[in-house]
Amino acid sequence: MTLPVEWDASSRAKRLMVSSGIVTHQEQGDAAKVLNAAFLTYVASALSALLTLLYYLLRSGLLGGRRND
């Protein structure tokens, strides 16, 4: 859920920066780099949440894991 929202916000930010003239076209790449890196953290947290969920599902035996309790 967070990912598309953040992605959209980032793309809006890139457009906003250039269209409003805060940032020139030459500088755009640098600013975008930071945004992309920040987006990567969201990807990482989404991945970790997904893996945590998967881990607990496996542990609780819901996904074909061995149930030994």
């Binding site: 930071v34 945004l35 030994n68």
Partner: protein, 338 residues
């Protein structure tokens, strides 16, 4: 084995490292239950992913209990016949679970692991130690080895007026309080690495981007832009000095920017501010996903507090599943906020 070494091994084991203790006791003299790899659980093709860690097994053996949990003056029955000495077994339902019998079991465990009996409290779970103190005036407190969680659960339990030896202790200590962190970390390794790389990238890039040229016109334009944003939304300088704690709060329509971002002329600060402004624009243009996300925030908050009512409820109803769920929902056990 020196004592500090033993402690270290104990801690490592606690994290799921499969370290075997060498025992001086010949195997034929060991009680029957010790052959059932009491401390290591059953062997598995994937040892790191198996649930069986020794202490948990021991807890299982000692504290599996049934409907007698309400009886304050009685220790719970041992369910697994394997854990009894042969001579102590009675035919009808396992051994009578007298404290003396448990003392014997614990002493054997101590002998097996090369611990002096007077230090016995160190090798068992807090449940057992505290229960002993409770039942027979034994003052065996587990001094910190694996016992912290259990001790605090015991407190919670006594606060609810339940008996000491309820099924709660076993279930919680077995499966949820002490998960297999080693396996968990292995499992989460990709996410951990990605998170580390992302954080490092963000921080270095944030620190290394050039600043905008100190051009008067540009500054003026930027100020105008800020004014435009400030008109539509409140922009506040967050008091938190945490790096990159910037966010847009749709409820109060506020852009909260960290001091670094708020007052820096660097390109990355502008980028971050614009990103948050992007959220504000999403809000103003009625972007559906943002609405859904902010609708989910209260649910997530309830979820993170669910443990405070699920756990007591599970105690009250004596439902291990509910207790597990309560613990799983506690974010204290999660390495990441999600």
């Amino acid at each position: 084995m020196p004592e500090s070494m033993g402690r270290m091994l104990e801690i490592l084991r606690g994290f799921g490292f499969p370290i075997r203790a060498t025992s001086s006791t010949p195997s034929r003299d060991r009680p029957r239950w010790s052959r059932n790899s009491l401390w290591w659980g059953r062997s598995s093709r994937f040892p790191a992913l198996s649930r069986g860690s020794g202490i948990r097994r021991a807890g299982e053996l000692f504290w599996r209990c049934s409907g007698e949990a309400h009886d304050r003056n009685r220790l719970t029955r041992l369910d697994a016949g394997d854990c009894a000495r042969g001579s102590d077994r009675d035919e009808e339902g396992g051994p009578p679970n007298e404290p003396a019998n448990l003392v014997h079991v614990l002493t054997s465990v101590a002998a097996q692991r090369g611990v002096k009996p007077d230090r016995m409290a160190e090798i068992v779970w807090g449940t057992v130690a505290v229960s002993f103190r409770n039942e027979r005036g034994m003052t065996g407190q587990s001094p910190g080895v694996d016992a912290s969680g259990v001790r605090c659960r015991l407190k919670a339990q006594s606060g609810f007026g339940l008996c000491w030896q309820s099924i709660v202790l076993e279930e919680v200590s077995c499966h949820v309080l002490r998960p297999d962190y080693f396996a968990y970390v292995l499992f989460m390794l990709p996410a951990l690495i990605l998170a580390g790389v992302a954080t490092i990238l963000t921080k270095t890039r944030f620190a290394n981007t050039p600043t905008t040229r100190p051009h008067r016109e540009l500054r003026g334009r930027r100020r105008q832009e800020c004014c435009w944003i400030a008109k539509a939304f409140r922009v506040s300088r967050s008091r938190k000095s945490a790096v990159l704690s910037d966010h847009y709060d749709p409820r109060s329509r506020t852009l909260r920017l960290s001091p670094d971002v708020y007052s820096s002329p660097s390109l990355s600060a502008i980028g971050v501010a614009c990103h948050e402004a992007g959220h504000a624009m999403q809000h103003s243009s009625g972007y559906a996903l943002l609405g859904m996300r902010s609708a989910l925030v209260p649910a997530a908050q309830i979820g993170s507090y669910a443990t405070y009512f699920l756990f007591p409820l599970g105690l009250w109803m004596q439902s291990p599943g509910l207790i597990k769920l309560g613990f799983c929902s506690s974010r204290r056990w999660w390495p990441f906020p999600s």
